[in-house]
């Protein structure tokens, strides 16, 4: 009898928490989908993906290998990167750095604006519990990231089909494993950068400093440290463990062309294996999420 009663209590508590997280997620999704900053970020992401993934590549291809834009990459290779079976490697190539920087900005804005607008306080007063509302924010952001990666892949499919039709090439679908690996890897990379943004936004208690620090880290500091590592080998132990290294290596592992090769994409690396980079990214995701959760739970809301 006692055991049953205890089980019932634990079960109802779990249900109550799940319900509260679901409510928080619905609330966050409602406010995010009406947020111009979210749609600006998504639009910028899609446009940059199309520009760097297809438009510039196609212009290079059309202008020929002597046109000055192809960096010596043969025309056949340029075209191959624009066709449907290249989608897995093309879709993830921008994620370690540029797309990652944009979702980091998004995460920083979501967390930081909560403090500058005072909505952290208002939400806390509604009674869901700090960690519950934080969990709702994370779930909502994860859904946004998954939706964004789906949109990126979808726009790549559309662009590659247009190129295939324009060039009269047969449509060859990518392998399912390659596609799923790239999709999963892309979601993981984008999620880690989003969580990094949430952490920085929470630490800074505002969007401006968080966005600035985050962008400088993703776009400059990691590359500078890798530059130092190339002339001072002990630093390499550090740079191999950076989130950008893991993200770039995962993109490289699913087929994106590393920056060290002709026509390679900045941020794409081959430093770590696919498995190691997934492990490191998961560790970063957990660390960022737990670090933010600790701050959210412990800190005074003033």
């Amino acid at each position: 009898m006692t055991t049953l009663a205890l089980s019932g209590t634990a079960g109802s508590t779990t249900n109550g928490t799940a319900t509260a997280v679901l409510r928080s997620t619905r609330a966050e999704l409602l406010r995010m989908r009406r947020w111009p900053a979210l749609w600006t970020t998504v639009t910028a992401e899609l446009l940059l993906n199309l520009l760097f993934g297809y438009v510039f590549g196609y212009v290079s291809y059309r202008s020929g290998s002597t046109g000055g834009m192809s960096e010596g990459v043969p025309r056949d290779q340029l075209l191959a990167d624009l066709l449907p079976d290249a989608i897995p490697r093309v879709a993830v190539q921008g994620m370690p750095m540029f797309a990652g920087a944009l979702v980091l900005v998004l995460g920083a804005l979501v967390a930081g604006n909560g403090y500058s607008w005072g909505t952290v306080k208002t939400v806390a007063l509604q009674g869901p519990g700090r960690l519950t509302s934080y969990a709702g924010t994370l779930v909502a952001l994860a859904l946004v990231v998954v939706g964004l990666v789906v949109a990126l892949f979808a726009s790549d499919v559309a662009a590659s089909l247009v190129v295939s039709a324009a060039e009269g090439r047969p449509v060859v679908a990518p392998g399912a494993v390659d596609l799923l690996s790239a999709f999963g890897g892309g979601v993981l990379v984008m999620l880690v950068w989003t969580l990094a943004g949430v952490l920085v936004g929470t630490v800074a208690r505002g969007p401006a400093l968080a966005v600035g620090l985050g962008l400088v880290w993703v776009l400059a500091v990691e590359n500078l440290l890798r530059g130092v590592a190339s002339i001072w080998s002990p630093m390499q132990r550090v740079t191999d463990l950076l989130p950008g290294t893991a993200a770039g290596s995962l993109a490289g592992a699913v087929g994106a062309t590393p920056v060290s090769e002709p026509g390679g994409t900045p941020g794409v690396l081959t430093t770590l294996s696919g498995t190691a980079s997934v492990g490191l990214l998961v560790a970063y995701a957990v660390a960022f999420a737990l670090g933010t959760g600790w701050l959210v739970r412990r800190r005074d809301i003033t």
């Binding site: 406010r31 005072g118 208002t122 869901p128």
Partner: protein, 317 residues
């Protein structure tokens, strides 16, 4: 809705909050009873908002304890029954007032009709579709109160709810607080405006420099009142007053004497003055305003017994 009036809805014991070396709140012990309007009075920086933040679980006490509706502050079980507006409303600027409340309603698990009911209550329904960032200060404040009202809370915690409101808006807010109290809800609100505390509150706590100076009913705080007497000669007047009320109960003020004596004893004082040969020109009861009490308590008063000691002694000579 609120339970029995004798039940304490909020209690604190030795509640203290320090920031570095600074003590924002020190050793505060208070009790708010169910169904009452409890005023939290004090000058800016007195520690009112910090105390309210601790009661709502936004700020952790450095030491001491507090309970809200029988739970620790910030416990979701209590928070769901509390509506609060703390130090100005914080909303998503790009959303309309209505959508802001819809977001908060989702957090509370409330249906959308609760949103319109809350907007109606603060007379904001017609402007509910406007973006929050386009609202005037008064409208933002009213939206904050609407958010506090959603979910039919047992306890309302309003931190200076009339801040930024024009006189008409301030009156509306007072009427709203009075109507919430009439429904049996417990209202705990802070203010540095003495008249609204005097008008609305059953009991008052006065804070200054982080300390709770007193907790009482408004009438109790104002005391039993006093008498103002003008008579000549002054030495006879003072001697008679001191004989009847005691040395500490007589104060020289303006062109007369304040005697801490119940108004019912005014005829006795008049007879005593006439019997002593004094020329009585004025005798009237004089209630202490809450402002006088407040200024005395917080040490900001311009007249007190000590200031008047020298002229009093001089007059007696």
């Amino acid at each position: 809705m609120a339970t029995a009036r004798t039940t304490d809805v909020v209690t604190t014991t030795h509640l203290t909050k320090t920031y570095g070396d600074r003590r924002a709140v020190e050793d505060v012990g208070l009790a708010v009873r169910a169904g009452e309007v409890y005023g939290f009075l004090g000058p800016n920086g007195a520690g009112k908002t910090t105390t309210l933040r601790m009661l709502l679980g936004l700020v952790r006490p450095t030491s001491g304890t507090a309970t809200v509706l029988g739970h620790r502050p910030g416990d979701p079980a209590a928070s769901r029954r509390v509506g609060a507006l703390i130090e100005g409303p914080g909303f998503f600027p790009y959303l309309s007032g209505r959508d802001n409340l819809r977001v908060l309603a989702r957090y509370r698990g409330l249906p959308d009709p609760a949103v319109d009911a809350a907007l109606e209550r603060v007379v904001l329904r017609d402007r509910g579709g406007d973006r929050f960032k386009a609202y005037s200060l008064g409208m933002k404040q009213r939206l904050g109160v609407a958010a506090a009202l959603m979910g039919d809370p047992d306890l309302l915690v309003l931190d200076e709810p009339t801040n930024g409101l024009d006189p008409a808006g301030r009156n509306d807010m007072r009427r709203l607080v009075a109507s919430l109290a009439a429904e049996g809800r417990t209202v705990l609100f802070s203010s540095h405006l003495l008249d609204e505390v005097e008008d609305l509150c059953d009991r008052v706590a006065v804070m200054s420099h982080g300390r709770l100076l007193t907790e009482s009913t408004v009438a109790g705080l104002r005391g039993a009142g006093s008498l103002f007497v003008r008579a000549a000669p002054a030495d006879v007047t003072l001697a008679v007053a001191m004989r009847l009320a005691g040395d500490d109960a007589v104060t020289l003020v303006d062109d007369g004497v304040r005697v801490e004596l119940d108004a019912a004893r005014a005829p006795e004082l008049a007879r005593a003055l006439l019997d002593a040969g004094a020329d009585l020109s004025e005798l009237r009861s004089r209630d202490r305003s809450l402002e006088e009490v407040f200024l005395d308590l917080t040490g900001d008063g311009t007249t007190d017994n000590h200031d008047q000691t020298a002229p009093l002694e001089e007059a007696l000579r």
